[in-house]
């Protein structure tokens, strides 16, 4: 990696903390191992602060992707804080007498390593590094899925996830080898130079790109590699499900952006047209299949797995229409996609936090029956769940609405009206099953006696997520400007003024209204 070492500070903090937590996991006494959560939490907060500080320091032209990397780091560490809070008493011991034999240290160490991989993803500048970062995200999740809870379903999920994950890694590594064959280097700048130098993208590079997309489709759970998602999401413990719906997805989308960044985004002519076409087909199928199959589910985790597939579809729309627009930055598909990624992470983690809080038959609430009528006994949890569900639908005044709005806007203004209409139809289909969760909570009578999980942090993380969903829905300027700067930086459409470019977060956080941001961007574009 060709960036100064101090810019890797957040990742270093996470990895060092992971080593300490893993060593504590080997300790004999449970009280020592209980410090694992605290160390993880503190290290992620430190990583967040470090990422924020690096983002506000001007890096200049030496670091052209400064705000993209900062956005990634802040996303990984920020959502990571919520994930640590909601998995506070992980791994669940089904037999309370054996609670001292859990893999607590290992669980949090794996989580930190995986988050460090997500955070490192945007900073890679070499195909080898890209592969290492993707595997750094994936390999710990294989372990987390299997050790998350001690029942056969989790073991089955672990085996499924591991073998299919290895298969997908082989596919995108094969794709990387084609890209290497195309230009004779794994270095990003050399590959980008080779793409820029060729008037017609050669077939070998197109094959490579297609294989990379298909391999990474597994990480983001997009059709056609979505089959594992419902089984794995259902089989493993709910906090791990929350983690799976964030970490591999964020890493996969950022990897895809980086790979397309190599091509110089000139894939709309000739045979290279196959790449955006494939993305569009995948987007439509992911949205539709995810939403239609989610309608049939009664298990909420399974339902949210299909919902995760469909949300990948929405984000793929942003990626497919990508930077086809040269004029205005709000309609840049990549910016819209990055905004959606942040929004989706927060709202889905909030929904899972509520499920973890409501202890069901196994370890967390799973069925629609498990949450029937909880609104009377646990109004706060029900309200958090309802807010997250409304945001997942895309109701106004939530962050999910803005996410869908930007995606649709990008699709429309790049001339893909059909895609935009499909997104809106799917949002309407999705409303049916999200609303069935809300009706189950508010309108039905309790079916089973409730018990809730003890640690207050779980409730706390659900409340933070729900509050963020509403706050970012009403005051989106921070998330918006970060995703816009990142998107325009990656697509190189707005000529970034480097003397101010990296200090974007400082300016963004002081801007009060969205109008201001748009005006500034418009001014800068000229």
């Amino acid at each position: 990696m060709n960036i100064p070492l101090n810019h890797l500070c957040p990742e270093i903090i996470m990895i060092v903390a992971a080593c300490i937590v893993a060593l504590l996991g080997a300790a004999k006494s449970d009280s020592v191992r209980r410090s694992a959560q605290w160390i993880s939490l503190i290290s992620l907060i430190l990583a967040f602060i470090a990422g924020w500080r690096i983002g506000t320091v001007d890096a200049g032209p030496a670091w052209p992707l400064a705000s993209f990397c900062t956005y990634d780091t802040l996303l990984a560490s920020g959502v990571g804080i919520l994930l640590v809070l909601l998995s506070w008493d992980m791994p669940f011991a089904l037999d309370p007498a054996k609670s001292d034999q859990t893999f607590r240290g290992e669980y949090f160490a794996m989580m930190l390593v995986s988050l460090a991989g997500v955070s490192m993803m945007a900073k890679v500048d070499n195909l080898i590094w890209l592969f290492i970062a993707l595997e750094l995200v994936s390999i710990p999740t294989y372990i987390m899925v299997a050790t998350g809870r001690g029942n056969p379903a989790a073991q089955e999920a672990g085996i499924k996830y591991f073998f299919l994950g290895s298969l997908s890694a082989a596919i995108y590594l094969f794709g990387f080898s084609y890209l290497y064959g195309f230009c004779g280097s794994t270095d990003f700048s050399k590959i980008a130079g080779a793409f820029a130098g060729s008037s017609q993208v050669p077939y070998v590079a197109i094959i490579g790109l297609l294989m990379v997309i298909i391999g990474i489709a597994y990480k983001i759970a997009a059709v056609p590699l979505h089959y594992y998602a419902p089984d794995v999401y259902q089989g493993t413990a709910t906090p791990v499900t929350a983690f799976l719906s964030f970490a591999p997805k964020a890493a996969g989308f950022i990897a895809l952006i980086l790979v397309f960044n190599l091509t110089g985004w000139k894939l709309s002519h000739g045979a290279a047209r196959a790449v955006p076409d494939l993305l569009m087909v995948m987007a439509v199928l992911s949205m539709t299949i995810g939403n239609v199959l989610a309608l049939l589910q009664r298990n909420i985790k399974r339902m949210l797995a299909y919902s995760s597939i469909s949300h990948s579809g929405y984000m793929l729309v942003g990626l497919a229409v990508g930077p086809l627009l040269l004029s205005h930055s709000t309609t840049n598909g990549i910016s819209a996609m990055l905004f959606y990624l942040g929004a989706y992470s927060i709202m889905t983690v909030g929904a899972f936090a509520v499920l973890v809080y409501l202890q069901g038959k196994l370890d967390a609430a799973e069925d629609l029956d498990d949450i029937a009528g909880i609104a009377s006994e646990h109004p706060l949890a029900a309200a958090c769940m309802a807010v997250c569900m409304l945001s997942l639908i895309g109701m106004p005044f939530t962050v999910g609405f803005l996410g869908k709005l930007f995606i649709v806007q990008a699709a429309f203004s790049s001339g893909h009206g059909v895609l935009a209409v499909i997104v809106m139809i799917n949002a309407a289909i999705a409303a049916a099953y999200y609303l069935s969760i809300i009706t189950s909570m508010y309108l039905r009578d309790p079916w089973t006696p409730f018990s809730v999980r003890r640690p207050g942090t779980i409730q706390f993380s659900a409340a933070i997520a729900a509050a963020l969903v509403i706050l970012l829905g009403l005051f989106p300027s921070v998330l918006m400007s970060m995703s816009q700067y990142s998107g325009s930086e990656v697509t190189k459409m707005v000529a970034m003024d480097h003397s101010h470019g990296a200090a974007l977060i400082k300016t963004a956080s002081t801007l009060s209204a969205d109008k201001n941001v748009e005006m500034r961007l418009a001014v800068r574009a000229h």
């Binding site: 080593c19 893993a22 060593l23 996991g25 080997a26 300790a27």
Partner: protein
Amino acid sequence: MVNVLTTALATSHIEFYSGWALLGILFLIGLAFGIGNVVLSHTLGPARKGLVKDSTYESGVDPLGSTRERFNVRFYLVAMIFLVFDVEVLFIIPWLYVFNNQRHPWVVLPLGALFASILIFTLILLVAYVYAWGKGVFQWD
């Protein structure tokens, strides 16, 4: 000693083969290591007899019979610890080559940073080792 030998060989009439002298020395060292270990363990080690001890791969798996048997999981754990050192060697040898050859185009770091990087690498591997130790991987009972 190696230098003395090679110069001695180089000045002798079998000059043509002098390049192979190192290979011959390696072969002799290998032979001595193998024979030495067998002899030493025979003379110094405790002598126990028994059905299991006399079989091939003592204390390991049954050499005859079905291959589709389940192995004790401890074999895998030890194999993975072996991998820790394997990876260590795999990285340290190229590192040594670069460290010892400062005009090599791969050298992008100053000497101190190069040394610090391998120390950090070894430290991370040490964490893995200490973790395995703490988990009781080396206890065979």
